[in-house]
Symmetry: none
């Protein structure tokens, strides 16, 4: 299996995320991007806020650009912390949870971003989505 994310993979990731969102009763925006941060698949469930169309995609792209889950950035960007202002760079990043990188055979192959619920809910759904293609 090659270390790239196919559209079929992206659809599986999206479907798993949508199912988890339904399970926890929070409609979501879910975005899946490839290793270059380019959108592969997206869905917005009925009732999910529209600000999160952008935020979900931006979380996924941030995960690619930083090679890290967006939740890991939260302490780093606070006033006085080392990367204060980071979110203003690279075209605008998101520094709260809900973006999760996806690895295959040790390589970063894509990311998923989830937004519309609480940060905890977003992370829960993003992890469930990412798990759909993990080993």
């Amino acid at each position: 299996m090659s270390a790239t994310l196919t559209f079929a993979d992206a659809q599986r990731i999206l479907t798993a995320g949508l199912a988890k969102a339904e399970e926890i009763g929070q409609p979501m925006n879910i975005a899946v991007v490839d290793a270059g941060g380019h959108l592969l698949a997206f869905g917005r469930q009925d009732g999910a806020i529209r600000a999160s169309i952008d935020i979900s995609q931006r979380k996924a792209v941030t995960s690619i650009l930083m090679n890290a889950p967006t939740a890991a950035l939260t302490p780093l960007v606070q006033p006085g912390a080392e990367l204060y202002g980071l979110e203003q760079t690279a075209g605008g990043m998101v520094a709260f949870g809900g973006g999760v990188p996806i690895y295959r055979e040790g390589e970063l192959v894509g990311a998923v971003g989830v937004s519309a619920g609480s940060v905890e809910q977003d992370v829960t759904v993003a992890e469930a989505a990412a798990a759909a293609v993990k080993g």
Copy 2:
């Protein structure tokens, strides 16, 4: 009466806002948008600062994108709070008061954004404006 905001509705909202602004003696920028966040009506009173041309529209759009009054966002975006950095997303949002969503038959049909006074004044005028089509 259908669940959309007509131009006549928007004019009533704007007129009510302008009247309230005069009543409290603070010239304002007032913007009314439809359910998709697209501008329907706008007015800037003599003496109101011009930065608020953008701010008032952005408050209205933020109310649509977040499905919430902008005042509700203020605590959420502070340093250390859950959505720190939120205002950088979705094309730029405003996280202080003065944007108010408008509902009809339970559906989000539009929003009004007011800016140029103190936040308290902006909220007062926005609520008076929105009330023109409620009930």
Copy 3:
């Protein structure tokens, strides 16, 4: 009477434009800006396309920036003509009719931009609107 456009002036311009649009049976977006190109008043009639929210404002601003009606720019920006590419500059201008500068006592005090109909209709409504404050 001083050489500036008040909000009351802008409302008269807008009202005259809206009336002309109804008279010719073409719903319009109508924007009125001050001498600095900053929005004073705006209205979008039911049925007018939403692309014209931006186009009407851009026509008004272009009239200020060029100190000319936008219709005057059309021949100048064609391939091979002297100002080919002009519309890409200054933040994006519009080089077809519907933007009309407004003068008072020989000074440029504002402009009106109209969009959503044919160029001929847009110009007709813009001129009717501008005439509401002319000497």
Copy 4:
């Protein structure tokens, strides 16, 4: 059935478009937006160029903003034609085929944008996609 596009509708539109793209052997980017031009569903098939991530979404949004298929704009924006330069406005529009508005009960409820093939292929897929919720 109410005059809005649900996420289930958007998924049906996307699925129909993906199927038509496979049938004609041209991988595509397909975007579905709601009546306000906000993204509902998106898919990029393996091998489809990534420039079309943006183009497909922009075609869908253009169809909303202009209330017309993007193919209808092509003659209007040519040098010498009435709306030369139109595509520079409203945040950037696309004036070639592949964007198709979707109506329900006579109301504009959304649009689909398709990009990555020839314009003829894009239009074919967009029409097949839109047809999934018509009638």
